[in-house]
Subunit: 130 residues, 2 copies
Amino acid sequence: MRIGELAERAGTSTRTLRYYETQGLVRPERSANGYRVYDEAELRVVHEIRALLAVGFGLDDIRPFVACLRAGHSSGDVCPDSVAVLRRKLAEVDAYLDRLGAVRRQLHDQLTQAIAYREETCFRKRGLPR
Amino acid sequence: MRIGELAERAGTSTRTLRYYETQGLVRPERSANGYRVYDEAELRVVHEIRALLAVGFGLDDIRPFVACLRAGHSSGDVCPDSVAVLRRKLAEVDAYLDRLGAVRRQLHDQLTQAIAYREETCFRKRGLPR
DNA sequence: CTAGACCTTGTCGCCGGTGTCAAGGCAACG
DNA sequence: CGTTGCCTTGACACCGGCGACAAGGTCTAG
């Protein structure tokens, strides 16, 4: 399988596949004419990469998962390094959820007060009772 | 007040203040020698900018708040445009919270299963009963 | 007069994952 | 033989909010 076919089957672009290669995530053979040649297993790898990217991982974080697949495991998640990354990411997400919750509260308060102020001003302008 | 003093008082850098100026957020006068001269009100403006940036706003989102302050209001939140941005941002944060919650769940599941698999493998390897 | 602290504008770099274009090789079909 | 389509490497662009540096002007104290 050459790069164009892999790109299409994986739902991405050739540019992206070449980039993954520079990052050490995908390792094609080369045919005599210099074309990249991928075996079926690489399709799996690319799917794993895309799935993890979609969840918010960076390419660096993904490396252990790819290594795990390449080591013959049926899931990229089960190797120690992958588990470590999963733990770390889960902690990061939890922390971010906390921060975002705080932000949400602040925004909500700000909005509530701004609206209250505007309504009060409106009442005063019209000389209406509260 | 010149740029260095404002930067120090606002807890930021001169580079940053000049950048805000290019973005139309801060408007210094110029003294005869070409130096930027800020009045006290600008300190307030810069504080508002920094506070909103810290919450996750972009400079574009912040513009209405600055305009609101500059229009004489004691808070940047109370003008219609600001309220609109607050509403939009709150919605964005809510959406992001949802997505992040889903991601958290997925990570948690992945982690749980990976660990379960590792333990099972461990048991099998040692020929122990479950 | 000079050193030093401040100011000016202009430019490049970063980060991450891609899009996009350029210039050129290789293969297959007519 | 030429066209078409796929492949190659290389390089610029993007987005946002700055950091950092260069080359030069200005003001003040000694």
